[in-house]
């Protein structure tokens, strides 16, 4: 039998920002629906590839399903759906890459398209989410960062996991 989830990838990439240190916030970059986002590394417990996901009928659209991460049941949440982006089709064999984050004693897997690197995002350079962005990003992000390689939205993990139960289709 194969493991359903592979172990963590290392995220010991060199810190690429000069202002690392005080007031900086190390984040892991992920790609979802063509956009780049940053997830605070302090919240990341795991980065894993999930192969067997059990879908949950009647659950909210964001919930991809449940998976077994080393004996722990993890709820996989589609970051794309959560952010109102187009969900990408699962890769071959149905495996998906997920960032394991802890929230209120539970582990959730944020399903992403790709995992990038660990970078330092200085708090001082954090800007509010521009008003023309999807309004729901304003509640889900702590802010945006202008970077040489483009705009990076820093996500608020707790806000991401505040998923309102979908009204029961009567």
């Amino acid at each position: 039998m194969s493991m359903n989830a592979q172990g963590s990838q290392s995220h010991d990439k060199p810190v690429d920002d000069l202002s690392a240190g005080l007031g900086s916030n190390p984040c892991i970059t992920v790609t979802v629906g063509g956009h780049r986002f940053g997830i605070p590394i302090a919240r990341v417990e795991d980065v894993f590839v999930a192969t067997a996901v059990t879908p949950v009928p009647k659950a909210s659209a964001e919930i991809v399903g449940l998976l077994n991460l080393r004996g722990k049941v993890v709820t996989a949440i589609s970051l794309a759906v959560r952010l109102g982006l187009k969900a990408e089709p699962a890769s071959e064999g149905g495996s998906m890459t997920a960032i394991g984050v802890g929230h209120a004693g539970e582990t959730f897997g944020l399903v992403v398209s790709a995992v990038g690197e660990v970078i330092e995002l200085p708090v001082t350079r954090r800007e509010p989410v521009p008003p023309h962005f999807d309004p729901r990003w304003a509640t889900l992000a702590t802010g945006v960062h202008q970077r040489e390689d483009g705009l990076l939205v820093e996500l608020d993990v707790d806000a991401l996991l505040e998923i309102a139960p979908r009204a029961e289709a009567a």
Binding site: K58, I63, V73, A170
Partner: protein, 878 residues
């Protein structure tokens, strides 16, 4: 302070808390041997331990008190003086303990006077003089005392106790576990070793690890199954055994007697009595019923709350009670018992009862349900409104006797762990809250079923049976207006498709399964409600380790948890309560009516007996209803195929001629319509088609028959979904066509098995006699228990007896015993018991006393089937 001494103080203080509780009882019932024994054991333990610690003064008092109690236990009459003496010695022990706690040593002082008094009380009037014993003999005697043999050792305490101490501690594990607040984990290493306190966290971790071990074991087994010829089989089997045993042990450490949740109640009640100026007796039954610590934790507070609530609001003031002709002293009873993999806890008061009308009005006023919805609810469902948050406001406290303060919390706490609460209440008589809880939450057996590519686990506790249906077999799926039903052994059960419920196919939950196809159907029973769930495939049963449901999924009523199977896949555990909730309520799941469905699902263990009724319209006078149990099939008849035969209308049906009648028992004329619904009623070989205009619904209601309006052909009338509905007597209709139904021929009568039917209600006698006769029995009816016994003693060879549980002159169960005695020499005669309350407890107590079955009075087919089964006759296909 010495570690050992501190430990002793903690334990002893806990023991004393228990003694306190026992003493409250002992004060009232000095003759109760059980209480005496319990106090005896506690004092004995204290004595044993303090001797070991060299606390001479304490030990001397404990010993002298124990001796007196030993005498009382051996049958010495309990005098007021003796009780006072014991109370006094307990007080003294407390006093000394408090001093030790303060100063770490025994206080100075003499207890000689008290000990002398105790010794006098012990020696007083004793016939055989206590034999003096050497230390070694004492030890043996003391050991005997542990198994509750007479304790004859009266000797110099200081010498005896040293030898006694190790034996005494053998008693401790039992005590420890029942100490309030004590954590489980008291494990006996040997009789001499003491118990060990283990933190709950450690136990929890242990359970998690064992759960993981079970999973890994399952995975290994799976691999071993796939690969042949490896050398793993034997060690793997060993591993499997060890794991199972380990799992058992760990589970046991989590089990605690429910009494632990009750310890504080007698004291609470004592305080409440003076606070409220009411006289209330608290009765605790089944305190040693064990359940999981996790479950215990969840219900501890709700139980306290319910008792407080009962005392505060349920029980009337002393004046009101006297005025109502009740004894001034009220009773609140807590009872716990195991029933079919669950534990039921009941909180009963004999107070004023809930005001049904006011609750109804309040719910209407609050907009919790519409008038129409209300009318469709049973009384029990409406009572459940008191569980809604904020239902009892300041105003409501006067309006609806105040219940509901915090009851919403009680209810939701219980629901979270998969339990149900049910209310029974009778104005002026009292209220019972009945809580049904799972024994453990950690590991449950489950049936794995499949729908499409999805796999789900159904808790085995709810699964009654598994059937395969096909168009040709007796077990079929039939379509009814607005739903599908499963025809199972002549009964119709509501059927849902799991795929439809979970939105896995195009249709809704009512999407009709292909009746022609072979289907797997799981029959589930949740709180006395039976229903069928259609699945696509059935795998196997497995002990699954329940993992909590993700917080993001907890709002879904369909699931109770998740588990990881042997192959590592995650599977959702389906919540049968949630499925039951989908029944009957159809789509109105949102808002307050969800509670209505909730209530419908929540009839725990059948306290509220419901009858499934088929409601139909016929002519202008409708609606009408028949008990669903008397309907064998539902068909549609083609008017063009109705033929006349003499003055009857008949139709060819399943290769036979079946008479068709209307509800008046008159021939059913073909009318303009092409197809008309038809209920097929059958008795034995014969069937009859009852042609109606339309089938309205199948409802489950508590049948409150109004017999005043009964006419020929009707059992009575009842309010069904807000409308007065005539309840048809299917037997009468059968008699219109087959006059011999219920009238056995004279020569046949001689060979008929004869049944004695004892019921004080002429109505039920009249209702049952034709049914029994139609089923081929001769019947003698009597109206009382005495008459039943008289009939038996006359020597008529009765083949069986059917007894009403509540006969006017005796309890049906006592009647059962009496009848047994009366029937000298004969072989055991099967006895069925009829009851209007079909609680699990009711059933268990009747079965325990030798009844062959317990049935609702309305369940006529069930009675016949039970009779046949009891008499060993093969059940004829209906």
């Amino acid at each position: 302070m010495d570690e050992l001494l501190r430990e002793f103080l903690i334990e002893t203080n806990e023991s004393l808390e228990t003694v306190d509780m026992q003493l409250v009882k002992f004060e009232r019932e000095p003759g109760n041997q059980d209480i005496l024994r319990a106090i005896f054991r506690l004092v004995h333990t204290i004595k044993g331990t303090c001797g070991f610690l060299g606390l001479g003064r304490l030990e001397a008092v404990a010993h002298a008190a124990e001796t007196v109690m030993g005498r009382l236990r051996d049958g010495k009459p309990v005098t007021r003086d003796a009780v006072s003496l014991i109370l006094k010695s307990i007080d003294r022990i407390k006093h000394i303990l408090a001093e030790i706690d303060r100063t770490a040593s025994e206080p100075q002082g003499s207890d000689g006077e008290l000990i002398d008094a105790l010794n006098r009380a012990a020696d007083d009037d004793l016939a055989p003089a206590p034999k003096a014993a050497a230390a070694s003999t004492v030890a043996i005697d003391e050991f005997d005392a542990l198994v509750l043999e007479p304790d004859e050792a009266v000797t110099v305490p200081a010498v005896a106790s040293q030898a006694v101490a190790p034996e005494a501690s053998a008693e401790e594990p039992a005590e420890l576990v029942s100490i309030p607040g004590a954590e489980p984990g008291a494990a006996t290493v040997s009789a001499a070793a003491s118990t060990l306190r283990v933190s709950v966290d450690t136990l929890e971790r242990l359970l998690t690890m064992v759960s993981e071990l079970v999973l890994t074991r399952n995975q290994l087994m799976e691999i071993a199954r796939q690969k042949e010829g490896h050398g793993f089989a034997v060690p793997l089997q060993r591993l499997s055994h060890v794991t199972a045993e380990l799992q058992d042990c760990v589970m046991k450490t989590r089990m605690q007697p429910i009494g632990n949740a009750w310890h504080k109640l007698p004291r609470l009640m004592r305080d409440l009595q003076s606070e409220l100026d009411k006289e209330i007796a608290l009765v605790l039954q089944g305190a040693d019923t064990e359940l999981d610590r996790q479950v215990l934790d969840v219900i501890k507070d709700p139980l306290t709350h319910m008792v407080r609530n009962a005392a505060d609001h349920g029980i009337e003031s002393r004046e009101a009670r006297l005025k109502a002709g009740k004894p001034a002293r009220a009773t609140i009873t807590l009872s716990a018992f195991h029933a079919g993999g669950t534990i039921t806890i009941e909180v009963t008061d004999d107070g004023r009862g809930l005001d049904y009308q006011k609750i109804r009005a309040k719910a209407l006023q609050k907009g919790l349900a519409t008038e129409a919805e209300m009318e469709r609810m049973s009384e029990a469902q409406i009572l459940k409104f008191i569980f809604l948050a904020g239902f009892s406001t300041a105003e409501a406290i006067t309006a609806i006797s105040g219940r509901g303060v915090g009851l919403d919390v009680v209810h939701s706490n219980i629901e979270t762990i998969g339990g149900t609460v049910d209310i029974r209440s009778k104005p002026g008589v009292g209220t019972t809250f009945s809580i049904s809880l799972p024994l453990t939450l950690a590991i449950v057996p489950a049936l794995l079923v499949g729908v499409g590519a999805h796999k789900f686990a159904l808790p085995q506790t709810a699964v009654v049976e598994l059937v395969r249906t096909s168009a040709s077999s007796e077990t079929r799926i039939e379509r009814l207006d607005g739903g599908t039903v499963l025809a199972l052994r002549g009964q119709l059960l509501p059927l849902m498709s799991l795929a439809g419920l979970l939105g896995l196919d195009a249709g809704g939950p009512e999407a009709a399964p292909d009746a022609e196809q072979a289907n797997f159907v799981v029959v589930l029973s949740v709180a006395s409600r039976r229903f069928a769930v259609l699945v696509e495939s059935v795998f196997h049963t497995e002990e699954i380790v329940v993992k909590p449901l993700s917080s993001k999924l907890r709002h879904l009523p369909y699931y109770s948890g998740t588990t990881i199977l042997g192959d590592g896949s995650v599977v959702l555990i389906v919540e049968p309560n949630g499925l039951a909730r989908m029944l009957g309520t159809g789509s109105d799941l949102n808002g307050p009516s969800q509670h209505a469905g909730d209530a419908a699902a929540g009839t725990a263990a059948g306290q509220e007996h419901k009858t499934a009724l088929l409601v139909f319209g016929a002519g202008e006078r409708g609606p009408f209803a028949v008990p669903l149990s008397s309907v064998t099939r539902l068909e549609e008849v083609d008017s063009t195929r109705i033929e006349w035969s003499g003055d009857r209308t008949i139709i060819q049906y399943r290769g036979k001629l079946m008479p068709l009648v209307t509800i008046d028992g008159m021939p059913a004329h073909p009318d303009g319509r092409e197809r008309r619904p038809c209920l097929v009623l059958a008795y034995g070989e014969r069937s009859l088609g009852l042609v109606v205009d339309e089938i309205v619904d199948v409802v489950e209601e508590r049948l409150d028959l109004d017999l005043d309006g009964a006419r020929a052909g009707f059992i009575g009338s009842a309010v069904v979904r807000g409308k007065t509905t005539g309840v048809l007597d299917s037997c009468y209709i059968l008699q219109q066509v087959f006059p011999d139904v219920g009238e056995p021929g004279p020569e046949k009568a001689k060979q008929l098995p004869w049944v004695l039917l004892a019921d004080d209600s002429a109505f039920f006698r009249d209702m049952l006699v034709p049914v029994l006769r139609a089923a081929g029995y001769g019947v003698t009816t009597v109206g009382s228990g005495k008459a039943a016994i008289a009939a038996l003693s006359e020597g008529r060879p009765f083949a069986a007896a059917i007894l009403d549980r509540a006969l006017p002159d005796m309890d049906g169960l006592d009647g059962l015993d009496a009848m047994r005695r009366e029937r000298r020499g004969g072989e055991a005669m099967p006895v069925l018991v009829l009851s209007s309350r079909l609680g699990a407890k009711e059933r268990a107590s009747a079965m325990a006393r030798g009844a062959q079955g317990v049935f609702s009075k309305f369940d006529r087919q069930g009675i016949v089937a039970g009779l046949e089964a009891a008499m060993g006759r093969t059940q004829e296909a209906a």
